[in-house]
Assembly symmetry: C3
Homo-oligomer: 131 residues x 3
């Protein structure tokens, strides 16, 4: 019960992957359990945030750049240390509770893939565990 997805990302931004998560749970046939959404990249991340106003998504990018700005003192030769920091701050995975065959999400919650150093072709995994 492991599912893999590919996606194309913008330079920076967060992409709604709630549908893919719901679909994985449905295909697994699991009605009660947990699921882990995992990002195998070091300049991207998985988060849960508001699914309604698109301004929340652009404010997310803006605020993360303020908290973890690029800096002349960074030494990493690829020049994307700010993206590595954002990735660790947001985290490579999210764990959701599954109840009645669906992710237990709040009314305003969606699951998002966060791109901090794109555009790139990226992947994410959904692992479903029955309990």
């Amino acid at each position: 019960m492991l599912f893999k997805f590919d996606l194309m990302t913008p330079e920076q931004g967060i992409i709604d992957i709630t549908k893919e998560v719901c679909q994985s749970i449905k295909e697994s046939g699991v009605s009660e359990g947990i699921c882990v959404i995992f990002c195998p990249h070091t300049t991207a991340a998985i988060t849960i945030n508001e699914n309604a106003d698109p301004d929340v998504r652009s404010d997310f990018v803006f605020g993360m750049n303020k908290a973890f700005p690029d800096d002349n003192e960074f030494r990493h030769s690829e020049g994307n240390s700010d993206a590595h920091l954002k990735s660790s701050s947001i985290g490579a995975s999210e764990t959701l509770i599954i109840s009645r065959g669906a992710p237990l999400l709040g009314r305003w919650q969606g699951v998002y893939f966060c791109e901090f150093d794109g555009p790139r072709t990226r992947q994410f995994f959904v692992k479903v565990i029955r309990s």
Copy 2:
């Protein structure tokens, strides 16, 4: 083995929910496994931090406001984009290891519900998994 709790929150602050987590594990009868504590809100979060000095809790609020301040350039009409950023930085869930019928926590660790845009009536879930 899914438990739901309600709580009233202050404007900003972190509330100790360790007792509710321990109680859920005890009621589940699970002695070895994991548990997921999940927050279904997009301007709140779950974290683990020090359970001793209350100054750590007020410093937490102060430091999060410094790292993710409100900003005139935010466009989200509700005016709480800083709270959405704090929620994603801290994260909507924590996963604990269960050993001998209790959460495997360090001596100084407690589990906290973080409110970034209160006061509100909030909820959180505890899912217990046997292994």
Copy 3:
């Protein structure tokens, strides 16, 4: 299937623990499942980040100090509130997917123990769950 490890840490820095995680999964005999790596300390954390260029690791320390600097207004008497904030921002645990007897990690990903207030003798736990 719970494993415990000790390590000695520097004043600040991130230490590669990928080998210990892989070894735990191998010893458990689990080929498909998840594993939780948990840090029982409130001024340390677990993260996933780049395993190639060591400059990413020093830039990580530098960037976390910029985002969560020490501040004269902090009240906590131990004087390490910045370390508590970093611990909550990065998080006390990581959850990995296990596939074919190994952690499902991207090519450039390693698992790291983050020290924000060392040097100290620290511990971490690896819990393996079959699915």
